[in-house]
Protein backbone atom coordinates (compact mmCIF):
# COMPACT_ATOMS: atom_id res chain seq x y z
CA UNK A 1 0.00 0.00 0.00
CA UNK A 2 1.48 3.34 -0.98
CA UNK A 3 1.52 6.28 1.39
CA UNK A 4 -1.20 7.77 -0.77
CA UNK A 5 -3.48 4.81 -0.08
CA UNK A 6 -3.15 4.54 3.69
CA UNK A 7 -6.72 5.79 4.07
CA UNK A 8 -8.15 2.68 2.40
CA UNK A 9 -8.65 0.79 5.64
CA UNK A 10 -11.02 3.45 6.84
CA UNK A 11 -12.74 4.18 3.57
CA UNK A 12 -14.69 1.02 2.82
CA UNK A 13 -15.35 -0.35 -0.64
CA UNK A 14 -17.73 2.26 -2.02
CA UNK A 15 -15.67 5.23 -0.93
CA UNK A 16 -12.44 3.54 -2.00
CA UNK A 17 -13.81 3.02 -5.47
CA UNK A 18 -14.93 6.64 -5.66
CA UNK A 19 -11.62 7.97 -4.38
CA UNK A 20 -9.59 5.78 -6.71
CA UNK A 21 -11.57 7.09 -9.68
CA UNK A 22 -10.97 10.65 -8.49
CA UNK A 23 -7.27 9.90 -8.09
CA UNK A 24 -7.03 8.51 -11.62
CA UNK A 25 -8.68 11.68 -12.93
CA UNK A 26 -6.31 13.83 -10.86
CA UNK A 27 -3.21 11.95 -11.95
CA UNK A 28 -3.49 13.52 -15.37
CA UNK A 29 -1.13 16.43 -15.31
CA UNK A 30 -1.12 19.57 -17.38
CA UNK A 31 -1.76 18.94 -21.05
CA UNK A 32 0.99 19.70 -23.55
CA UNK A 33 -1.11 22.47 -25.09
CA UNK A 34 -1.68 24.09 -21.71
CA UNK A 35 2.01 23.65 -20.91
CA UNK A 36 3.10 25.41 -24.09
CA UNK A 37 0.60 28.21 -23.56
CA UNK A 38 1.63 28.58 -19.93
CA UNK A 39 5.28 28.81 -20.88
CA UNK A 40 4.49 31.60 -23.33
CA UNK A 41 2.55 33.45 -20.65
CA UNK A 42 5.41 33.06 -18.20
CA UNK A 43 7.96 34.27 -20.67
CA UNK A 44 5.91 37.38 -21.33
CA UNK A 45 4.94 38.20 -17.76
CA UNK A 46 8.32 38.77 -16.09
CA UNK A 47 9.54 40.95 -18.98
CA UNK A 48 6.50 43.16 -18.63
CA UNK A 49 7.17 43.54 -14.94
CA UNK A 50 10.68 44.74 -15.55
CA UNK A 51 10.13 47.66 -17.91
CA UNK A 52 7.21 49.70 -19.28
CA UNK A 53 8.63 49.39 -22.81
CA UNK A 54 8.23 45.65 -22.43
CA UNK A 55 4.54 46.12 -21.72
CA UNK A 56 4.08 48.12 -24.92
CA UNK A 57 6.05 45.58 -26.90
CA UNK A 58 3.94 42.84 -25.34
CA UNK A 59 0.68 44.52 -26.33
CA UNK A 60 2.02 45.03 -29.85
CA UNK A 61 3.07 41.41 -29.99
CA UNK A 62 -0.34 40.32 -28.69
CA UNK A 63 -2.04 42.36 -31.42
CA UNK A 64 0.20 40.82 -34.07
CA UNK A 65 -0.56 37.37 -32.70
CA UNK A 66 -4.27 38.19 -32.55
CA UNK A 67 -4.17 39.34 -36.17
CA UNK A 68 -2.35 36.23 -37.23
CA UNK A 69 -4.67 33.99 -35.24
CA UNK A 70 -7.79 35.64 -36.56
CA UNK A 71 -6.70 35.30 -40.17
CA UNK A 72 -5.74 31.65 -39.76
CA UNK A 73 -8.01 28.78 -40.56
CA UNK A 74 -8.21 26.83 -37.33
CA UNK A 75 -9.12 23.21 -37.00
CA UNK A 76 -11.30 23.89 -33.97
CA UNK A 77 -15.06 23.67 -33.58
CA UNK A 78 -15.37 27.42 -33.19
CA UNK A 79 -14.28 30.18 -35.48
CA UNK A 80 -12.28 32.89 -33.73
CA UNK A 81 -13.27 36.34 -34.94
CA UNK A 82 -11.09 38.38 -32.64
CA UNK A 83 -8.76 37.78 -29.76
CA UNK A 84 -7.08 40.31 -27.55
CA UNK A 85 -5.14 40.05 -24.35
CA UNK A 86 -2.78 42.02 -22.21
CA UNK A 87 -1.53 42.16 -18.71
CA UNK A 88 0.35 44.69 -16.67
CA UNK A 89 1.05 45.64 -13.10
CA UNK A 90 -0.49 48.89 -11.98
CA UNK A 91 -0.12 50.24 -8.45
CA UNK A 92 0.92 46.83 -7.25
CA UNK A 93 -2.09 45.08 -8.78
CA UNK A 94 -1.93 42.68 -11.69
CA UNK A 95 -4.28 43.80 -14.44
CA UNK A 96 -5.18 41.16 -16.98
CA UNK A 97 -7.63 41.13 -19.82
CA UNK A 98 -8.31 38.44 -22.36
CA UNK A 99 -11.20 38.52 -24.79
CA UNK A 100 -12.12 36.13 -27.55
CA UNK A 101 -15.01 36.74 -29.89
CA UNK A 102 -16.00 33.66 -31.82
CA UNK A 103 -18.85 31.95 -33.55
CA UNK A 104 -19.77 28.34 -33.57
CA UNK A 105 -18.77 26.69 -36.81
CA UNK A 106 -22.04 24.88 -37.32
CA UNK A 107 -23.76 28.22 -37.82
CA UNK A 108 -23.79 29.71 -41.28
CA UNK A 109 -21.33 32.51 -41.67
CA UNK A 110 -22.73 35.87 -42.66
CA UNK A 111 -19.37 37.34 -43.57
CA UNK A 112 -16.00 35.70 -44.18
CA UNK A 113 -13.85 35.88 -41.07
CA UNK A 114 -11.06 37.79 -42.68
CA UNK A 115 -13.42 40.37 -44.11
CA UNK A 116 -15.19 40.81 -40.82
CA UNK A 117 -11.89 41.11 -39.01
CA UNK A 118 -10.65 43.58 -41.62
CA UNK A 119 -13.84 45.53 -41.05
CA UNK A 120 -13.30 45.57 -37.31
CA UNK A 121 -9.68 46.61 -37.73
CA UNK A 122 -10.66 49.34 -40.18
CA UNK A 123 -13.31 50.55 -37.75
CA UNK A 124 -10.75 50.63 -34.95
CA UNK A 125 -8.30 52.58 -37.11
CA UNK A 126 -11.00 55.01 -38.27
CA UNK A 127 -12.14 55.43 -34.70
CA UNK A 128 -8.59 56.25 -33.67
CA UNK A 129 -8.22 58.77 -36.51
CA UNK A 130 -11.58 60.35 -35.77
CA UNK A 131 -10.95 60.63 -32.06
CA UNK A 132 -9.21 64.05 -32.08
CA UNK A 133 -12.02 65.63 -34.10
CA UNK A 134 -14.59 64.43 -31.61
CA UNK A 135 -12.52 65.17 -28.55
CA UNK A 136 -14.69 68.11 -27.61
CA UNK A 137 -17.81 65.94 -27.22
CA UNK A 138 -18.44 64.85 -23.63
CA UNK A 139 -17.37 61.30 -23.01
CA UNK A 140 -20.45 59.29 -22.02
CA UNK A 141 -18.20 56.89 -20.16
CA UNK A 142 -16.75 59.64 -17.97
CA UNK A 143 -18.70 58.54 -14.94
CA UNK A 144 -17.37 57.55 -11.54
CA UNK A 145 -19.23 54.23 -11.73
CA UNK A 146 -16.87 53.19 -14.51
CA UNK A 147 -13.76 53.99 -12.46
CA UNK A 148 -14.18 50.73 -10.59
CA UNK A 149 -11.97 47.75 -11.27
CA UNK A 150 -13.74 44.57 -12.14
CA UNK A 151 -12.78 40.94 -12.09
CA UNK A 152 -15.15 39.04 -14.30
CA UNK A 153 -15.06 35.80 -16.23
CA UNK A 154 -17.63 34.99 -18.88
CA UNK A 155 -17.69 32.11 -21.29
CA UNK A 156 -19.64 31.70 -24.49
CA UNK A 157 -21.97 34.61 -23.86
CA UNK A 158 -23.71 37.05 -26.17
CA UNK A 159 -22.66 40.67 -26.11
CA UNK A 160 -26.04 41.54 -24.55
CA UNK A 161 -25.30 39.29 -21.61
CA UNK A 162 -21.88 40.90 -21.21
CA UNK A 163 -23.46 44.36 -21.04
CA UNK A 164 -25.99 42.98 -18.57
CA UNK A 165 -23.19 41.81 -16.26
CA UNK A 166 -21.32 45.11 -16.57
CA UNK A 167 -24.51 47.08 -15.92
CA UNK A 168 -25.26 45.03 -12.82
CA UNK A 169 -21.75 45.58 -11.53
CA UNK A 170 -21.57 49.32 -12.22
CA UNK A 171 -25.25 49.97 -11.40
CA UNK A 172 -25.66 51.86 -14.65
CA UNK A 173 -28.41 50.87 -17.09
CA UNK A 174 -27.55 50.34 -20.75
CA UNK A 175 -30.05 50.72 -23.57
CA UNK A 176 -28.87 48.39 -26.29
CA UNK A 177 -30.25 49.79 -29.53
CA UNK A 178 -28.31 47.99 -32.22
CA UNK A 179 -28.91 45.03 -34.49
CA UNK A 180 -26.83 42.03 -33.72
CA UNK A 181 -25.33 41.59 -37.16
CA UNK A 182 -24.41 38.04 -36.32
CA UNK A 183 -26.33 36.64 -33.35
CA UNK A 184 -24.12 33.55 -33.37
CA UNK A 185 -21.15 35.65 -32.24
CA UNK A 186 -20.17 34.68 -28.73
CA UNK A 187 -17.67 36.25 -26.43
CA UNK A 188 -15.43 34.71 -23.83
CA UNK A 189 -13.44 36.97 -21.66
CA UNK A 190 -11.55 37.12 -18.46
CA UNK A 191 -10.82 40.46 -16.82
CA UNK A 192 -8.82 40.79 -13.64
CA UNK A 193 -8.63 44.15 -11.88
CA UNK A 194 -9.62 45.77 -15.17
CA UNK A 195 -11.38 49.13 -15.22
CA UNK A 196 -15.02 48.97 -16.33
CA UNK A 197 -14.40 51.88 -18.71
CA UNK A 198 -11.58 50.02 -20.44
CA UNK A 199 -13.74 46.92 -20.83
CA UNK A 200 -16.54 49.00 -22.32
CA UNK A 201 -14.04 50.59 -24.69
CA UNK A 202 -12.78 47.20 -25.81
CA UNK A 203 -16.30 45.93 -26.38
CA UNK A 204 -17.20 49.01 -28.42
CA UNK A 205 -14.16 48.62 -30.62
CA UNK A 206 -14.67 44.91 -31.07
CA UNK A 207 -18.35 45.12 -31.92
CA UNK A 208 -18.17 48.50 -33.71
CA UNK A 209 -20.44 50.23 -31.24
CA UNK A 210 -20.61 53.69 -29.75
CA UNK A 211 -22.00 55.13 -26.56
CA UNK A 212 -24.23 58.12 -25.96
CA UNK A 213 -25.46 59.47 -22.67
CA UNK A 214 -29.22 59.00 -22.32
CA UNK A 215 -30.35 60.56 -19.06
CA UNK A 216 -29.02 58.23 -16.36
CA UNK A 217 -28.45 55.42 -18.84
CA UNK A 218 -25.96 54.78 -21.63
CA UNK A 219 -27.36 54.31 -25.12
CA UNK A 220 -25.39 51.78 -27.15
CA UNK A 221 -25.76 51.98 -30.91
CA UNK A 222 -23.94 50.68 -33.94
CA UNK A 223 -21.30 53.23 -34.87
CA UNK A 224 -22.66 55.90 -37.23
CA UNK A 225 -26.16 54.44 -37.22
CA UNK A 226 -29.40 55.53 -35.60
CA UNK A 227 -30.70 53.60 -32.62
CA UNK A 228 -32.86 50.67 -33.63
CA UNK A 229 -36.51 50.55 -32.64
CA UNK A 230 -36.02 47.27 -30.87
CA UNK A 231 -34.13 47.93 -27.69
CA UNK A 232 -32.93 45.85 -24.85
CA UNK A 233 -32.49 47.50 -21.50
CA UNK A 234 -30.07 45.91 -19.10
CA UNK A 235 -29.03 46.92 -15.64
CA UNK A 236 -30.80 48.66 -12.80
CA UNK A 237 -33.37 50.42 -14.93
CA UNK A 238 -35.15 53.41 -13.47
CA UNK A 239 -38.43 53.93 -15.22
CA UNK A 240 -38.49 57.13 -17.28
CA UNK A 241 -41.95 57.97 -15.90
CA UNK A 242 -43.22 57.66 -12.36
CA UNK A 243 -44.75 54.29 -11.63
CA UNK A 244 -47.85 53.75 -9.53
CA UNK A 245 -48.96 50.66 -7.73
CA UNK A 246 -52.61 49.69 -7.51
CA UNK A 247 -53.85 47.13 -5.06
CA UNK A 248 -57.20 45.42 -5.56
CA UNK A 249 -59.40 43.13 -3.59
CA UNK A 250 -61.66 40.80 -5.57
CA UNK A 251 -64.59 39.56 -3.49
CA UNK A 252 -67.68 37.46 -3.92
CA UNK A 253 -69.88 38.67 -1.14
CA UNK A 254 -67.68 38.73 1.94
CA UNK A 255 -65.29 36.15 0.54
CA UNK A 256 -61.97 37.53 -0.69
CA UNK A 257 -60.98 35.73 -3.89
CA UNK A 258 -57.64 37.42 -4.38
CA UNK A 259 -55.65 40.58 -3.77
CA UNK A 260 -53.83 41.31 -7.01
CA UNK A 261 -51.77 44.39 -7.68
CA UNK A 262 -50.32 46.05 -10.72
CA UNK A 263 -47.93 48.89 -11.48
CA UNK A 264 -48.25 51.34 -14.32
CA UNK A 265 -47.39 54.87 -15.30
CA UNK A 266 -48.76 57.59 -17.55
CA UNK A 267 -48.97 56.46 -21.20
CA UNK A 268 -48.76 52.84 -20.07
CA UNK A 269 -52.00 51.02 -20.51
CA UNK A 270 -52.12 47.78 -18.68
CA UNK A 271 -54.37 44.73 -18.65
CA UNK A 272 -54.76 42.70 -15.52
CA UNK A 273 -56.11 39.19 -15.88
CA UNK A 274 -57.44 37.25 -12.95
CA UNK A 275 -58.55 33.64 -13.31
CA UNK A 276 -60.47 31.51 -10.87
CA UNK A 277 -63.56 29.46 -10.09
CA UNK A 278 -66.58 31.06 -8.39
CA UNK A 279 -67.64 27.63 -7.09
CA UNK A 280 -65.59 24.48 -6.86
CA UNK A 281 -66.12 22.40 -10.01
CA UNK A 282 -67.62 25.31 -11.92
CA UNK A 283 -66.08 26.33 -15.26
CA UNK A 284 -62.92 28.42 -15.09
CA UNK A 285 -63.71 32.13 -15.05
CA UNK A 286 -61.41 34.90 -16.17
CA UNK A 287 -61.71 38.55 -15.39
CA UNK A 288 -59.90 41.10 -17.48
CA UNK A 289 -59.41 44.62 -16.27
CA UNK A 290 -58.01 47.24 -18.63
CA UNK A 291 -56.51 50.26 -16.97
CA UNK A 292 -56.00 53.42 -18.96
CA UNK A 293 -54.01 56.18 -17.24
CA UNK A 294 -55.60 59.61 -17.72
CA UNK A 295 -53.53 62.14 -15.82
CA UNK A 296 -51.19 62.55 -12.93
CA UNK A 297 -52.40 64.55 -9.98
CA UNK A 298 -50.91 65.47 -6.65
CA UNK A 299 -52.69 62.48 -5.09
CA UNK A 300 -51.69 59.94 -7.69
CA UNK A 301 -52.50 58.63 -11.13
CA UNK A 302 -56.09 58.78 -12.33
CA UNK A 303 -57.25 55.76 -14.28
CA UNK A 304 -60.13 54.85 -16.50
CA UNK A 305 -61.20 51.25 -15.94
CA UNK A 306 -62.92 48.76 -18.21
CA UNK A 307 -63.59 45.20 -17.25
CA UNK A 308 -65.00 42.07 -18.78
CA UNK A 309 -65.75 38.59 -17.54
CA UNK A 310 -65.01 35.45 -19.55
CA UNK A 311 -66.06 31.85 -19.14
CA UNK A 312 -63.90 29.67 -21.36
CA UNK A 313 -63.88 31.49 -24.69
CA UNK A 314 -67.26 33.14 -24.06
CA UNK A 315 -67.52 36.62 -22.73
CA UNK A 316 -70.27 36.35 -20.14
CA UNK A 317 -70.57 39.76 -18.60
CA UNK A 318 -70.00 43.43 -19.21
CA UNK A 319 -68.37 43.24 -22.58
CA UNK A 320 -66.00 46.11 -22.25
CA UNK A 321 -68.45 48.35 -20.42
CA UNK A 322 -66.76 51.37 -18.94
CA UNK A 323 -67.88 51.16 -15.34
CA UNK A 324 -66.00 54.10 -14.02
CA UNK A 325 -66.53 56.65 -16.76
CA UNK A 326 -67.15 59.44 -14.31
CA UNK A 327 -65.01 58.11 -11.48
CA UNK A 328 -61.38 57.34 -11.31
CA UNK A 329 -59.34 54.97 -9.24
CA UNK A 330 -56.30 56.40 -7.60
CA UNK A 331 -53.04 54.61 -7.10
CA UNK A 332 -50.09 55.54 -4.97
CA UNK A 333 -46.73 56.40 -6.51
CA UNK A 334 -44.21 53.66 -5.91
CA UNK A 335 -41.17 54.72 -7.96
Amino acid sequence: MSVRDEWKDEAGDALSELLEGAQRASDVGMSEADGAQMWERLQAAPRRRRAPIGWIAGVAAALVVATALASMRRPVPVEIVKEMSFESVHQGKAVRFEMTVYRERRRRRTMPTSRLFDGILLAVVLAALAAPARAAAPDPLARPEFDQDLTLTMRGETVVRVYDALASFAHVPFILAFDESDPSLKVTFKAENMGVRAILGSLAKTYDLEYTKADTAILVTRKGRAPTEKRTIVGPWQAPVPQYRFDYVLRVGDRVLSTPWVTTGLKQEVRMTQGGQAVLGAPEMRMEVDLTPRKETAEGLELGVQWSLHEGTTKTASPRVKLFSSRHLRGSRCL
Binding site: V3, R4, W7, E10, A11, G12, A14, L15, E17, L18, L19, E20, G21, A22, Q23, R24, A25, S26, D27, V28, G29, M30, S31, D34, G35, M38, W39, R41, L42, Q43, A45, P46, L150, T151, L152, T153, M154, R155, G156, E157, R161, A165, F169, K190
Partner: protein, 173 residues
Protein backbone atom coordinates in the same frame (compact mmCIF):
# COMPACT_ATOMS: atom_id res chain seq x y z
CA UNK B 1 25.83 15.07 -8.79
CA UNK B 2 23.28 14.74 -5.93
CA UNK B 3 19.74 15.88 -6.67
CA UNK B 4 19.98 18.79 -4.22
CA UNK B 5 23.08 20.11 -5.98
CA UNK B 6 21.38 19.83 -9.36
CA UNK B 7 18.37 21.71 -8.02
CA UNK B 8 20.56 24.35 -6.45
CA UNK B 9 22.50 24.85 -9.68
CA UNK B 10 19.28 25.08 -11.70
CA UNK B 11 17.88 27.61 -9.24
CA UNK B 12 21.06 29.67 -9.28
CA UNK B 13 21.27 29.63 -13.07
CA UNK B 14 17.59 30.53 -13.45
CA UNK B 15 17.95 33.34 -10.90
CA UNK B 16 20.83 34.78 -12.89
CA UNK B 17 18.63 34.95 -16.00
CA UNK B 18 19.29 31.58 -17.66
CA UNK B 19 15.96 30.92 -19.35
CA UNK B 20 16.96 27.36 -20.15
CA UNK B 21 17.37 26.61 -16.46
CA UNK B 22 14.00 28.12 -15.65
CA UNK B 23 12.46 26.12 -18.51
CA UNK B 24 13.93 22.96 -16.99
CA UNK B 25 12.39 23.81 -13.61
CA UNK B 26 9.08 24.53 -15.27
CA UNK B 27 9.13 21.29 -17.24
CA UNK B 28 10.11 19.22 -14.22
CA UNK B 29 7.42 20.60 -11.91
CA UNK B 30 4.55 21.84 -14.04
CA UNK B 31 2.51 18.62 -13.79
CA UNK B 32 2.72 18.48 -10.02
CA UNK B 33 1.99 22.18 -9.64
CA UNK B 34 -1.03 21.77 -11.91
CA UNK B 35 -2.24 18.71 -9.95
CA UNK B 36 -2.03 20.70 -6.73
CA UNK B 37 -3.78 23.69 -8.24
CA UNK B 38 -6.50 21.53 -9.83
CA UNK B 39 -7.06 19.66 -6.59
CA UNK B 40 -7.33 22.83 -4.52
CA UNK B 41 -9.34 25.00 -6.92
CA UNK B 42 -11.40 22.24 -8.50
CA UNK B 43 -11.60 24.14 -11.74
CA UNK B 44 -9.28 24.09 -14.73
CA UNK B 45 -9.18 27.80 -15.57
CA UNK B 46 -8.60 28.84 -11.98
CA UNK B 47 -5.99 26.11 -11.67
CA UNK B 48 -4.11 27.44 -14.69
CA UNK B 49 -4.15 30.91 -13.14
CA UNK B 50 -2.73 29.42 -9.97
CA UNK B 51 -0.02 27.61 -11.95
CA UNK B 52 0.97 30.85 -13.60
CA UNK B 53 1.05 32.64 -10.28
CA UNK B 54 3.14 29.84 -8.80
CA UNK B 55 5.81 29.99 -11.48
CA UNK B 56 5.88 33.80 -11.40
CA UNK B 57 6.51 33.60 -7.66
CA UNK B 58 9.14 30.94 -8.23
CA UNK B 59 10.81 33.15 -10.81
CA UNK B 60 10.78 36.11 -8.46
CA UNK B 61 11.95 34.09 -5.49
CA UNK B 62 14.67 31.98 -7.07
CA UNK B 63 17.36 34.41 -6.00
CA UNK B 64 16.27 33.88 -2.40
CA UNK B 65 16.07 30.10 -2.67
CA UNK B 66 18.55 28.39 -0.39
CA UNK B 67 19.20 24.69 -0.45
CA UNK B 68 17.91 24.35 3.10
CA UNK B 69 14.93 22.46 1.69
CA UNK B 70 14.67 20.69 -1.63
CA UNK B 71 13.57 22.67 -4.65
CA UNK B 72 10.49 20.45 -4.92
CA UNK B 73 9.43 21.10 -1.32
CA UNK B 74 9.87 24.82 -1.85
CA UNK B 75 7.85 24.73 -5.08
CA UNK B 76 5.09 22.60 -3.53
CA UNK B 77 4.74 25.10 -0.70
CA UNK B 78 4.44 28.00 -3.14
CA UNK B 79 2.00 26.05 -5.30
CA UNK B 80 -0.30 25.21 -2.39
CA UNK B 81 -0.38 28.82 -1.20
CA UNK B 82 -0.91 30.20 -4.71
CA UNK B 83 -3.74 27.74 -5.32
CA UNK B 84 -5.42 28.65 -2.03
CA UNK B 85 -5.12 32.35 -2.87
CA UNK B 86 -6.47 31.82 -6.36
CA UNK B 87 -9.40 29.78 -5.06
CA UNK B 88 -10.24 32.48 -2.54
CA UNK B 89 -9.99 35.15 -5.22
CA UNK B 90 -12.15 33.19 -7.65
CA UNK B 91 -14.84 32.83 -4.98
CA UNK B 92 -14.71 36.47 -3.95
CA UNK B 93 -14.91 37.94 -7.40
CA UNK B 94 -17.96 38.08 -9.54
CA UNK B 95 -17.96 35.08 -11.81
CA UNK B 96 -20.53 34.39 -14.44
CA UNK B 97 -20.21 30.97 -15.94
CA UNK B 98 -22.37 30.42 -18.94
CA UNK B 99 -21.61 26.78 -19.08
CA UNK B 100 -20.06 24.34 -16.75
CA UNK B 101 -16.52 23.34 -17.60
CA UNK B 102 -16.19 22.71 -21.32
CA UNK B 103 -15.90 19.03 -22.02
CA UNK B 104 -13.97 16.91 -19.58
CA UNK B 105 -10.32 16.20 -20.27
CA UNK B 106 -10.25 13.58 -23.05
CA UNK B 107 -7.37 11.85 -21.29
CA UNK B 108 -9.66 11.07 -18.37
CA UNK B 109 -12.37 8.40 -18.38
CA UNK B 110 -15.82 9.86 -17.94
CA UNK B 111 -16.56 7.81 -14.80
CA UNK B 112 -13.29 8.97 -13.25
CA UNK B 113 -14.11 12.59 -14.08
CA UNK B 114 -17.50 12.15 -12.42
CA UNK B 115 -15.85 10.55 -9.40
CA UNK B 116 -13.49 13.52 -9.17
CA UNK B 117 -16.38 15.96 -9.34
CA UNK B 118 -18.22 14.02 -6.63
CA UNK B 119 -15.17 13.97 -4.37
CA UNK B 120 -14.68 17.70 -4.89
CA UNK B 121 -18.31 18.28 -3.91
CA UNK B 122 -17.97 16.12 -0.83
CA UNK B 123 -14.69 17.76 0.16
CA UNK B 124 -16.35 21.15 -0.06
CA UNK B 125 -18.78 20.07 2.65
CA UNK B 126 -16.06 19.13 5.11
CA UNK B 127 -15.45 21.50 8.01
CA UNK B 128 -12.37 23.68 8.53
CA UNK B 129 -9.28 22.66 6.64
CA UNK B 130 -10.33 19.03 6.27
CA UNK B 131 -11.52 19.52 2.69
CA UNK B 132 -8.29 21.21 1.68
CA UNK B 133 -6.13 18.61 3.41
CA UNK B 134 -8.13 15.79 1.83
CA UNK B 135 -7.72 17.30 -1.63
CA UNK B 136 -3.98 17.75 -1.17
CA UNK B 137 -3.59 14.24 0.23
CA UNK B 138 -5.79 12.22 -2.07
CA UNK B 139 -6.04 14.25 -5.25
CA UNK B 140 -2.71 16.08 -5.39
CA UNK B 141 -0.86 13.11 -3.91
CA UNK B 142 1.14 15.08 -1.37
CA UNK B 143 2.45 13.32 1.73
CA UNK B 144 1.29 14.27 5.20
CA UNK B 145 4.69 15.88 5.79
CA UNK B 146 4.48 18.00 2.65
CA UNK B 147 0.98 19.15 3.54
CA UNK B 148 2.11 19.95 7.08
CA UNK B 149 4.98 22.09 5.78
CA UNK B 150 2.82 23.87 3.20
CA UNK B 151 0.06 24.67 5.69
CA UNK B 152 2.33 25.23 8.69
CA UNK B 153 0.70 22.38 10.64
CA UNK B 154 2.05 19.46 12.63
CA UNK B 155 2.30 16.23 10.68
CA UNK B 156 0.27 14.16 13.19
CA UNK B 157 -2.44 16.78 12.97
CA UNK B 158 -2.56 16.39 9.18
CA UNK B 159 -2.76 12.58 9.52
CA UNK B 160 -5.63 12.92 11.96
CA UNK B 161 -7.47 15.38 9.70
CA UNK B 162 -7.16 13.01 6.72
CA UNK B 163 -8.49 10.17 8.83
CA UNK B 164 -11.41 12.25 10.10
CA UNK B 165 -12.18 13.47 6.59
CA UNK B 166 -12.25 9.94 5.16
CA UNK B 167 -14.51 8.73 7.98
CA UNK B 168 -16.85 11.64 7.45
CA UNK B 169 -17.02 10.98 3.70
CA UNK B 170 -17.84 7.38 4.41
CA UNK B 171 -20.69 8.46 6.65
CA UNK B 172 -22.02 10.83 4.00
CA UNK B 173 -21.85 8.16 1.30
Amino acid sequence: MPRSDVDHKLATDAASGDEGAFAAIFEAHRHEVYRIARAVTGERETALDAVQETFLKIHEGLARFRAASSLRTWIVRIAVRAAIDQRRRARRHLTVDAATEPSHDPRVKMEDALALARVQDLAAQLPGQQGLILRLRLLAGLTNGEIAKALALQEPNVRMQVSKAVRRLREVL
